[in-house]
Subunit: 240 residues, 2 copies
Amino acid sequence: MAQPKRQRTRRTGRHEIYVTLRQMVLTLQLPPGAALSENELAASLGVSRTPVRESLILLAQEGLVQVFPQIGSFVSRVDPAQVSDAQFLREAVELAALDDLPPELDDAVLQELRDNLERQQREGLGIEEFFELDEAFHQGLMRLSGHANAWTTVAAAKGHLDRARRLGLYENVSPAVFADQHREIFDAVVGGDVTLARTAMRTHLRAVFSDIERIRAHSPELFATDPSAVPVRRNVVVWE
Amino acid sequence: MAQPKRQRTRRTGRHEIYVTLRQMVLTLQLPPGAALSENELAASLGVSRTPVRESLILLAQEGLVQVFPQIGSFVSRVDPAQVSDAQFLREAVELAALDDLPPELDDAVLQELRDNLERQQREGLGIEEFFELDEAFHQGLMRLSGHANAWTTVAAAKGHLDRARRLGLYENVSPAVFADQHREIFDAVVGGDVTLARTAMRTHLRAVFSDIERIRAHSPELFATDPSAVPVRRNVVVWE
DNA sequence: CGACAAGTGCTTGCATACAAGCACTGGCCG
DNA sequence: CGGCCAGTGCTTGTATGCAAGCACTTGTCG
């Protein structure tokens, strides 16, 4: 299908850089606590400081990086308080969406969700692949209730939660449990049992959440300890 | 009390500009659809384009302004879809917070809310004053449930809703009704009747929301009509 | 040996110059 | 008279230079 290339909003280099950096932070390729440098990033990406800097400012507003003037920029450590906030937020929104399902569910979305669930149960699924399916599943449920846009707001605010979830997946490689919970939710939705759907959803979301404390004990250096952050400039020493 | 001026994060000029512009957009001093110009704003604020531009980028990410490369920057028109999304979001979060109230409520916050309610009922209250009290009241309820931070996320996402609410206040100057609803919610919370509190809260939030269609009929030029925006460069003609 | 102070190299914040592109204007030509 | 087309002035995007400041190193002096 010949997509009209004429975007109403032109693609800028900044947007591409922003998306790239954001993905690297969320997938932990840029681990929590890592020192960033506008100059280094600009050089490695082959652009000037300007678009890199503007991207960092956006990521800072999302809470994914912290910028300390005259000191440096750092990937935020996972903040348990922010994880908890995002958990509360997503639970409130997803449960409210279940209450708001229309009588007639969109067939196209339902079929998409069925395909998604089937793929989740395939063997040998990579962590990133499962994560993607997981996100698509929850987003699909929000679309069923007609609140897809509200979900994008939640998605933007749950960066800390997502990083913690990824850490959980890398620790405990058993997405099968989550896949089963997804199916349980879906069946309740299709069956029209809102109460059961709510219960299943709440159980599912809290199961994901409960892993975090265990992970924190295992990898404390990835988590923030004190609200008064500890910015540390990395050593100036250079291998040569 | 001698506040330690030594902020951990130094205040930058950009932050000040960002707060200023954001306030001007939310209070409709910069009306929906208004054309902005990085150069003009920079000149009028006495700084260079850089901090202004970075502020506009942040506001664009919040959806309060739209930036069209090589065309111009504009204050977003109020988007009914985004208003509806924010309404759904805040209702979900505030109701969930009521479900999550602790057994023992914080006395300091309770007293603050009582003072707030009393001030709401004073005669001759300006619209902006009432709006501020309104915001503080809802934020106070969120603090009671221990989810103040989740509220900041909602607050950041509800810019379109707030502008619509302000339009409603300017149209229909009767904040007394809202003040009474606030007291009803508060009394139910203090009385420990979560069910009643939820009902009162839902009624209150939807009352605010229901005004919007009327306002839209009255001032359609402030609302967005088509998702495919209509960026129009303002005339180059200059009075002289 | 210990402590203090200047030096060095990095950091981000801000200012500014240039590049690419859109929209309107006004003149030219059929 | 109508339509095309270069010209002009604005827009935002990007690159770059400089300023202010922090942290570490190193030399100096007691």
